[in-house]
């Protein structure tokens, strides 16, 4: 089995996001970037399939600027066999990403594609679903457990109010939820080995995909600030405040 994971370079989850003063987006200059945490879970799942013998090859794909190669290198250090970098400085919307991944699927013929359920920068939660539709594969989204055997995948999905277990035919697209696994630290010897692993470079044009934007961003603003809450002494005070201050009862 061949597994492909898609990974995105995003602002590190620890960074306090600042909106640009001209309201065109968020500040990324001198800001720490790292792999989207959901994608890290996808890589870890791929590495585990590789280690338990289910998969023979694990390919990590990233679409983005030159520095996205650092993110691919991290996936290689975690255990991916090789990388593919589709280089573009343009903003790529989920549909464009799905189309690029489709083009790569046609080239690489993987049996399973694993993606994070969403990226923590735009929180779209669309790419996996769009990809499955474009290639006509089964999809198992929000996976918290994944078992692959005999051309089928058993996916436990985190849904409102509980867990749903489905069985889908391969090839399939699976998107990861937080509880699927805990990603490993890349070990020092593997970091050194990752240096020598190959990364294929291509561009959207090479893959014949039009990535031009279909959405226009009008403006990006900070969420409005909220005043801190107060702790009331007792129910009487609460009722009083609801009546006289909030005037809701």
């Amino acid at each position: 089995m061949k597994v492909l994971v898609a990974i995105k370079r995003v602002i590190d989850y620890n960074v306090k996001i600042r909106v640009k003063s001209d309201e065109t987006g968020v500040e990324t200059t001198n800001v720490k970037m790292s792999m989207n945490p959901f994608d890290e879970i996808a890589v870890e799942e791929g590495v585990r399939l590789r280690e338990n013998g289910s998969a023979e090859e694990l390919i990590a794909v990233s679409i983005g600027p030159k520095q996205a190669q650092e993110t691919i290198r991290t996936a290689l250090a975690m255990g991916a066999d090789r990388g593919i970098h589709v280089e573009t400085d343009d903003e790529v919307e989920p549909l464009a990403v799905a189309k690029l991944l489709k083009a790569l699927i046609e080239k690489e013929n993987p049996d399973l594609v694993v993606l994070g359920k969403q990226a923590i920068d735009d929180d779209s939660n669309q790419t996996g679903q769009m990809l499955a539709a474009l290639v006509g594969w089964s999809q198992g989204t929000f996976a918290s457990e994944l078992e692959v055997a005999d051309g089928k995948a058993k996916v436990t999905r985190e849904i409102d109010g509980g867990l749903e277990t489905i069985q889908i035919n391969m090839p399939a697209v699976v998107t990861t939820d937080l509880r699927l696994n805990t990603p490993r630290y890349a070990s020092l010897p593997n970091i050194m080995k990752a240096k020598k692993k190959p990364i294929d470079e291509s561009s959207p044009a090479d893959l014949g995909v039009d990535i031009s934007a279909r959405l226009a961003t009008l403006k990006v603003t900070e969420p409005s600030s909220r005043e801190a809450g107060v702790i009331v002494e007792d129910v009487a005070e609460l009722v009083d405040k609801l009546k006289n201050e909030a005037k809701v009862i």
């Binding site: 630290y185 593997n190 970091i191 240096k195």
Partner: protein, 383 residues
């Protein structure tokens, strides 16, 4: 000219930063018993070190280690020292064998080095004496050849890890006339040899409790001599520079943590209606830490990269140790000042950084001695 770390070392730094943030800092006040790891912490850390591929990272390739260059080691030293979870002297898990042991001949390696790397034997390095800290010419402990033995007499003090050590690497005078020009040798002495006495434990400002050791007519087999007679000082010199870089790399880790803690606290703490972060006195302290960290990083990475190219870094190592130890102490001191009373408590790691870094300005070459040695080089170069 490239001032950036190579990509793989950046990744190593990132990984270790995350490891320290997620796994060491949350438990950093619970891992130690005095200067040593608690047994359960040691077991846990051993597993983590294997997982990270850092187990005995310090060991040369020919002895089963990773064969890392000095630049890579500085990254590890810096990141692991951002937390006080580990002993100030990193435990053997990371390959704590003193570099002298890699200079042993094959028979000696079988008997002494291998068991140390396997964790079966413990060892301590014994150089300092009451009247000879930095000045080897004043050393008194003597080893006199008598047939197939040396007879060892004298005393050593401030010997870390002496308690529980199975053997000592003793620096002794074999020729008084020649002193540091070929009169000093290194000899391996079994701790249970008759005439070896652990005299007394010394309580220090740090958690480390070194010992004073007495040698009285200790008979040591001549084959326990390391290298040739008179090589002792030369051997010590060959790794002393990398030891100084290690001091500076540790300082980088400590300044980083102090900067993180001090900025966070300065942003939160309000006094007389104003945030500490808005006060110039505090701002200047933070800016100094930031600048010193930048200076030190450039110095350390430059020196380490130069060493890895096979060049001499004697002068760079003097500068790195002096600058690294003094500026990291200053950072700990200012971080403590910014935290006020909280900075004095044992709830925060600042007091340990402060005690450790104060001691580092004296340990393994006090600032004044290193400056004296560097001055000789400067006078030669520009005089």
């Amino acid at each position: 000219m490239n001032f950036e770390l190579p990509e793989e070392l950046k990744m190593l730094k990132e990984t270790l930063r995350r490891f320290v943030d997620n796994e060491l800092i949350p438990i950093e006040r619970e891992t130690l018993d005095g200067a040593k790891l608690k047994p359960e912490s040691e077991k846990w850390l051993n597993e983590k070190a294997v997982e990270l591929g850092l187990w005995q990272f310090d060991v040369p390739e020919e002895h089963g280690g990773l064969g890392l260059g000095l630049l890579a080691k500085t990254v590890v030293w810096t990141e692991l020292n951002r937390s006080i979870a580990l002993p100030t002297r990193l435990p053997e898990i990371f390959g704590g064998a003193s570099p002298i042991l890699y200079n042993l001949n094959e028979t000696q390696q079988e008997r002494y080095l291998k068991p140390v790397l396997d964790g079966k034997l413990k060892t301590a390095f014994a150089q300092t004496e009451a009247d000879a800290g930095s000045d080897p010419a004043a050393m008194r402990t003597s080893a006199v050849r008598d047939g197939d033995h040396y007879v060892l007499n004298g005393s050593k003090r401030f010997i870390s890890n002496a308690l529980g050590a199975d053997f000592f690497q003793v620096i002794a005078v074999t020729d008084k006339e020649k002193a540091q020009r070929g009169g000093i040798s290194t000899i391996l002495v079994d701790a249970d040899a008759p005439g070896v006495t652990l005299l007394r434990e010394q309580e220090l400002i740090t958690d480390d409790k070194p010992w004073e050791i007495l040698f009285e007519d200790v008979k040591v087999p001549a084959e326990n001599l390391v290298g040739k007679e008179g090589d002792g000082f030369k051997l010590a010199q060959s790794w002393i520079s990398t030891g100084r870089i290690r001091h500076a790399a540790r300082g980088m880790g400590i300044i980083t943590r102090c900067l993180e803690m001090a900025t966070t606290y300065a942003n939160d703490r309000v006094t007389f209606g104003e945030k500490l972060a808005d006060r110039q006195a505090v701002q200047w302290m933070l800016v100094d830490m930031y600048t010193h960290l930048h200076q030190l990083s450039l110095m350390v990475y430059h020196a380490a990269a130069k060493y890895d190219r096979g060049e001499d870094i004697r002068n760079e190592a003097f500068m790195c140790k002096v600058f690294g130890d003094t500026k990291s102490f200053e950072a700990a001191d200012n971080c403590m000042q910014i935290h006020g009373g909280l900075g004095l408590t044992k709830e925060l790691p600042i007091e340990r950084f402060w005690r450790d870094q104060r001691s580092m300005i004296i340990t393994e070459g006090p600032t004044e001695v290193l400056k004296m040695a560097l001055a000789r080089q400067v006078l030669k170069e520009y005089g």
